[in-house]
């Protein structure tokens, strides 16, 4: 595909040889990437907030505190090295979720009950 992008929008500054090369992931940096999960309130689940680089888990938590909870957005932080996360493959989504597709009887709306039945 050969598309020439000649129109540049706000935040996309024209330059013939600007950024955007994908080269090898081999990098000298010793700081791994961490995924950050934050519990915003006691009683709620931890939710993915974003990622950051840090030398170790302790530093990752401290950086996460500075970056993701500056306005009291959290009461608990989990960090996990990104490389330790296994993700499902979007290209296999079809097969992976197929078993649930034809099981409408798993939903309460599948069952037709007379209107007289209350509280159900």
């Amino acid at each position: 595909m050969n598309i020439l992008l000649r129109k540049f929008y706000y935040g996309d500054i024209p330059e013939d040889k600007t950024g955007g090369n994908i080269v090898s992931k081999d990098t000298k940096s010793d700081w791994p990437l961490w995924e950050v999960f934050i519990r915003s309130k006691q009683g709620l689940d931890h939710k993915h907030a974003g990622s950051l680089h840090a030398a170790d888990a302790q530093m990752a938590i401290e950086n996460a505190r500075d970056v993701y909870t500056r306005r009291m957005e959290g009461v608990s932080i989990w960090v996990v090295e990104s490389k330790d996360i296994t993700a499902s493959n979007p290209e296999e989504a079809g097969e992976l979720y197929e078993p649930a597709v034809d099981k409408v009887y798993r939903h309460p709306t599948f069952y037709d009950l007379p209107d007289e039945v209350k509280h159900m």
């Binding site: 020439l4 996309d12 994908i22 990437l33 931890h46 974003g50």
Partner: protein, 321 residues
């Protein structure tokens, strides 16, 4: 599957407003455009700390100093959210930063203008963050998921930036004769560069709009610029100040403000690196990076050492929660 089929699936998703996620197939040009745009955006947040950082130690009161510190710290966070979003596209943090330092990657030209007086800090919050907000609100709906999510987070934080700037100018506008003059002078200097932030005019291009088709962008430069002018032309009245444009006038028919022509020669010259502070900004970034080298190394060495002598008090995430 053939590339044509993959491209069709991709475009169908975009047309149906389904967000693209890192592991989804995407055309190379889509990936590259996003890398370029998100990294430029990240660099802008980081370089943008420099003109404001210039005034942290000289803010006129402890309150203003605390506010400015908080704002500048927010911008560092914005840079980080964006660098992280960029990394999901397969470019490393280091490469992105190297591209900034080598001059290959750009950042918003607005940060190549100097902050001469305290009023400039107010004008930046009001005008520069104000212009950025319009763009960023649009980008919360951009088609690439990680970019859109970073924007949602950023937009939540930006509103304080603009409000503190305006309020700071409001104080000056009600002050002494000198303070009023300082306020007007800052507005005069920052107005046109702020308008330039929206980029070239729509009529400058004859090409088909790939970024619009891919829903990376959802409004044109001119649309955003007009929104900005309409907003600021009203707000400036509350300050009792004026914008330095004698063509600025409400157009009843269009229901928009008309305004004068931007100095495009200046625009391109600053983009190309000839703005008042281009050199200074890049040098400051490189210096910070180089002088921080030993800290990064020490932290890595410390982490390595700690790994080899495991800490028994550490449980897994569930245990620690």
């Amino acid at each position: 599957m053939s590339v044509q089929e993959l491209e069709k699936i991709f475009q169908d998703k975009i047309d149906k407003e389904v967000k693209l996620e890192p592991k989804d197939w995407m055309p190379d040009a889509y990936r590259k455009t996003n890398i370029r745009q998100i990294s430029q955006h990240a660099h802008s947040e980081i370089v943008g700390m420099l003109p404001e950082g210039n005034w942290i130690s000289r803010a006129p009161s402890l309150k203003r100093k605390a506010i400015l510190l908080a704002k500048v710290q927010d911008e560092a966070g914005h840079g980080l959210y964006l660098y992280s979003a960029c990394e999901t596209l397969g470019i490393t943090r280091e490469e992105t930063i190297n591209d900034l330092h080598s001059g290959k990657a750009k950042y918003s030209s607005i940060f190549n203008y100097p902050t001469i007086t305290w009023a400039d800090i107010g004008a930046i919050g009001w005008l520069v963050d104000g212009a950025a907000i319009l763009n960023q609100v649009m980008l919360t709906r951009t088609s690439y998921g990680p970019y859109a999510r970073a924007m949602v987070r950023i937009c939540k934080e930006e509103s304080f930036h603009q409000r503190q700037g305006f309020e700071s100018l409001l104080v000056l506008s009600r002050g002494t004769k000198e303070q009023k003059e300082m306020c007007q002078d800052a507005i005069n200097r920052w107005w046109w560069p702020s308008l330039m932030m929206f980029g070239p005019k729509d009529s400058e291009s004859t090409n088909s709009d790939q970024s619009m088709k891919w829903k990376i962008k959802r409004k044109t430069n001119d649309e955003l610029r007009q929104n900005f002018v309409d907003m600021i032309a009203e707000q400036v009245k509350i300050l009792g100040m004026t914008l330095p444009d004698d063509k600025l006038k409400w157009n009843e028919e269009r229901r928009h403000y008309d305004f004068g022509e931007i100095n495009w020669e200046e625009f391109w010259s600053v983009v190309k690196g000839n703005g008042p502070c281009n050199k200074q900004r890049l040098e400051a970034r490189k210096k910070a990076w180089e002088e921080g080298e030993w800290v990064r190394e020490a932290a890595a060495a410390f982490a390595k050492k700690r790994k080899t002598s495991p800490n028994p008090s550490k449980g897994g995430a569930l245990a620690a929660a």
